[in-house]
Symmetry: C2
Subunit: 150 residues, 2 copies
């Protein structure tokens, strides 16, 4: 079992903020020797608490100039139509997130594209062509005062 104690918690906090910190520096920060620290990190990775590591890229500098959240409602609510929709959405690179939500619509998507023109393209060519989709509402992101995941 992987019960997270106080030190694990500190390790996770540090790694969540500085994913590429050296094990040595991490060990020092949490007050452990390098080997003990490494063993804990390895255990956290193996047990799935730590899923992986990623570089956080600047959206603007990597050509993302337009971000929007889109709610999507399906006309048919069968399992098959949901799976068909999710299959297409999962393949679409513009869709960074797809959440199944409660409320009057089924899905909330996060879309990241270069510009408004690219979004229009996505809207008509991808969303517009899906037979299951009956309602689309776009919320353009004008800014993100807080974004811990970015």
């Amino acid at each position: 079992m992987s019960n997270i104690d106080y030190i694990d918690d500190r390790i996770l906090r540090v790694l969540a903020a500085e994913g590429r910190i050296s094990n040595l520096a991490l060990a020092e920060r949490v007050g452990l020797s390098a080997s003990a620290c490494l063993r804990r990190v390895a255990a956290l990775e193996k047990s799935g608490v730590i899923r992986g590591y990623r570089a956080v890229l600047s959206p603007e500098k990597t050509g993302i100039g337009f971000v929007a959240y889109v709610t999507v409602g399906l006309g048919v609510h069968t399992k098959e139509s949901q799976l068909a929709f999710e299959r297409v959405i999962t393949r679409a690179p513009e869709v960074k997130e797809c959440h199944n939500i409660t409320g009057n619509v089924e899905y909330l998507l996060r879309i990241e594209v270069t510009d408004l023109a690219a979004y229009k393209e996505f809207h008509t060519e991808v969303l517009g062509t899906l037979p299951q989709v009956s309602a689309i509402t776009s919320y353009v992101v004008m800014g993100s005062p807080k974004d811990d995941r970015a």
Copy 2:
């Protein structure tokens, strides 16, 4: 200027997926020597294309059992009331993201808490006590068929 060429692009793609890959392995993957690769990564970090690195943690295994998106509308639309709202929201640990969006409401928040009880607490004790807030709508996340940021 930092113009991203084909190799930079490959580097970024690899680091976005495997943030803790060694420079040596990264160099091999993109077909560069270790020093050339390291220099490119350093340049990408310095120029801000790479903002940082983070460990991706499993929500369930770190005690996040309830995720919701919440739209918030402000009664007053002055700059001051927006800033006051953002100040409180930025400090709240439950709020992982706060986006300023177009549409009939001003904000879209992502909330992560342990359970429904904690969410109720946040809803009434934080959101409910902000004088600027005039409309709150919660969309509980039941699943995320795709989440590239997680």
